[in-house]
Amino acid sequence: MSEKIVDVEVIDLVKRYEELVAVDHLSLSIEKGEIFGLLGPNGSGKTTLINCILALLSYDQGEVNIFGKPMTPRSYDIKQQIGLVPQEISVYEELTVYDNIDYFCGLYFDVKRERRRMVDEVIDFVQLNDFKKFHPKKLSGGLKRRLNLACGIAHRPRLIFLDEPTVTVDPQSRNRILEGIKQLRDEGSTIIYTTHYMEEVEYLCDRLAILDHGKILVSGTNEEILAMSSISESIEIVIYDLTDGIIDDLRSMPTVDSICYKSGTLSMAMKQGGNNLMSVLNLLTKAGIEPVSVSSKNPTLNDVFLEITGKELRDNA
């Protein structure tokens, strides 16, 4: 079995702002070629963590290695291979789409001819060909987001930090951006992705971590994190001629946690484990009962996120 290459390694990182511990003994490793989701409520330490990884912020304790080397403010060889797409659209309103991308790409590549090719390619990649000479203020929100993305990836970075790149965009642009991110991963880039949209994480990320109060609460693949939850599948069946005997049979199933039959609706909360619905339907079929309607709801990442981080509002003082 081949050993996996770690692109980003954070070891026991601590960052304090006076009394506030923004990052609290956090350790993390991100493998080459994966999309790693970073989730957490507002103020959980995501941005501070990213700024520490990028050496934009100094930290009190710990170690950050990128591509196997320590990351410092002057690690220009590492920075050369990093792309950053901040949440705030950070393009110049006075420059055209082409000039904006050329400017940011020029921070990494000095050779004009090579840069021109890269700019053309990324414009093609984010489908802004028709807007090359437009100024950003003439672009819609979705197009601006695509430009913001293009400025961060034009130099073909090996490691890309994407901070909520789909905020306030329409479904079409979002879809285009998400497809693009997958394509970047498929082409070999490692991506660190922060967002509040759980469905994006479920769709995109190979692995993810949920942060709160500067600590990683859980990390792993989608399935691993869902499996850690105490929330389980719930089943509702509309059924009219259910006898007490059948209800007892259903209750005695090993995966059933609780059961309730009222006004022709059977509600069941299941314990952990898959294929619960099929087992229930098999039992009913054997008893010669035909359900009117059946619905099953599995826990989502959103349910797990709220379970782990709590439901109280975080932006309140």
Partner: protein, 402 residues
């Protein structure tokens, strides 16, 4: 790399419409409006007809005769004694630009001339001055009223001063006191070798020119905003790139600095087109203006680096600081400069606009070159202090240090 950065910094700075209006168009508009307001009445474009005045001493007392003589002398600063050509009072040869033509006569002839519109007004010289104008004129009484009020004021001041010296209340200044005053004051300096008289308006104009020279503080603030990750999203994105902060600083500074230097030189040429005469030592004037603009840019970078906050407080400072300095230099009223010099010496000594105004004035009056050199030295030190503060401010940030 640096060329690439400078090119796009220049493009984005000059392409910013707010910058363009605020930093580039406003100074021209301001100077133009100020010029119109200050110099319109003394400029060539105003063509006033000479006012024909007849002076009528009320009696032959010595004091009235003396007052009549004093008034004639006063009128000579803006006019001539008229000569009669036939029935018409006209100016003498070479006196075509006269604002006032005067002559002396008795009251009977005067009233007759006034009635027949041979003169525009008659002034009766008694203990108090009074005048009568020909019917149907509106401008003449206004001008005469102002002229005579000025005459009375000058006359009384002169009498008070003479009386003061006679009874020992006033003593003449010592030589060193006179020199000190001459070096620093703005009003009333007699420079007879200048082709034009020195008006206090010139001091206001110098302070105003210094104000627009010191205007681009915003440009300096913008430099820091563009490189400090805590101040803008652009800077955050750029900080992740393999380029040093020093390089970003230089690349952001050069285009803004050069744009403003070019602007101030253009503004100087513009005032030359408007025929504003502030001396012929063009190179020294331009050097002073360049240093003034440099001090403004570095004031901005120092503010930006020392106030790592959001934009609002810095915008407020970038507007109020030049105004405060300009006021202390005499832009609103020239005597304020002297008041500040006497009562707030630290502001006088460290006010870059004061140095600029003093420098321009020193060149205008062709006074001791040491005075001009002192202002140049002061501005250089001011720039260096601001640059040091800027570097300190950038270094002390929690982000990458330069």
């Amino acid at each position: 790399m640096l060329k690439h950065l400078i090119k796009y910094n220049f493009k984005s700075y000059v392409g910013n419409k707010i910058n363009l209006i605020w930093n580039f168009i406003f100074p021209f508009a301001y100077i133009t409006i100020l010029l119109l307001a200050l110099f319109a009445l003394t400029g060539d474009s105003i063509d006033l007809e000479a006012i024909r005045v007849v002076l009528v001493p009320a009696n032959t007392n010595e004091s009235i005769e003396s007052k009549t003589k004093a008034l004639e002398d006063f009128f000579k600063s803006a006019g001539y004694e008229g000569v009669w050509e036939g029935e018409e009072l006209t100016h003498p040869a070479g006196g075509e630009d006269a604002l006032i033509l005067y002559t002396e006569a008795n009251i009977k002839d005067s009233l007759d001339w006034l009635e027949n519109e041979k003169v525009d007004a008659m002034i009766l010289i008694d203990e108090e001055l009074s005048f009568k104008v020909k019917p149907g004129t509106s401008l003449t009484p206004t001008i005469l009223h102002e002229v005579l009020a000025s005459f009375e004021k000058v006359n009384k001041t002169q009498s008070t001063i003479i009386a003061g010296y006679q009874d020992g209340r006033f003593t003449p200044l010592s030589e060193s006191e006179s020199k000190e005053l001459e070096n620093n004051r703005f009003l009333g300096i007699d420079k007879t070798d200048r082709s034009t008289a020195i008006y206090s308006q010139f001091i206001i104009f110098f302070a105003a020119l210094a104000y627009v020279t010191y205007f681009p503080i915003n440009g300096g603030i913008d430099v820091i905003e563009s490189i400090e990750p805590s101040q803008s999203a652009h800077a955050l994105r750029k900080s992740a790139a393999p380029v040093s902060k020093t390089k970003f600083f230089i690349a952001a500074l050069i285009p803004r600095w050069i744009a403003h230097l070019l602007l101030i030189i253009l503004l100087f040429c513009f005032t030359q087109l408007l025929r504003i005469d502030y001396g012929k030592d063009y190179l020294r004037i331009i050097l002073l203006l360049i240093l003034g603009t440099t001090s403004a840019v570095f004031t901005g970078t120092a503010l930006g680096a020392l106030l790592p906050t959001r934009q609002e407080p810095k915008v407020v400072l970038s507007i109020t600081l030049p105004l405060l300095f300009a006021m202390a230099s005499g832009m609103m009223a020239s005597p304020i400069h002297t008041l500040v010099m006497e009562h707030v010496p630290w502001l006088h000594n460290w006010n870059p606009l004061g140095m600029l105004t003093n420098g321009l004035y020193a060149l205008y009056t062709d006074s001791d070159p040491a005075r001009y050199n002192r202002q140049l030295m002061g501005l250089t030190i001011f720039c260096l202090v601001c640059l040091t503060l800027t570097i300190f401010g950038i270094r002390r940030t929690r982000y990458e240090s330069i």
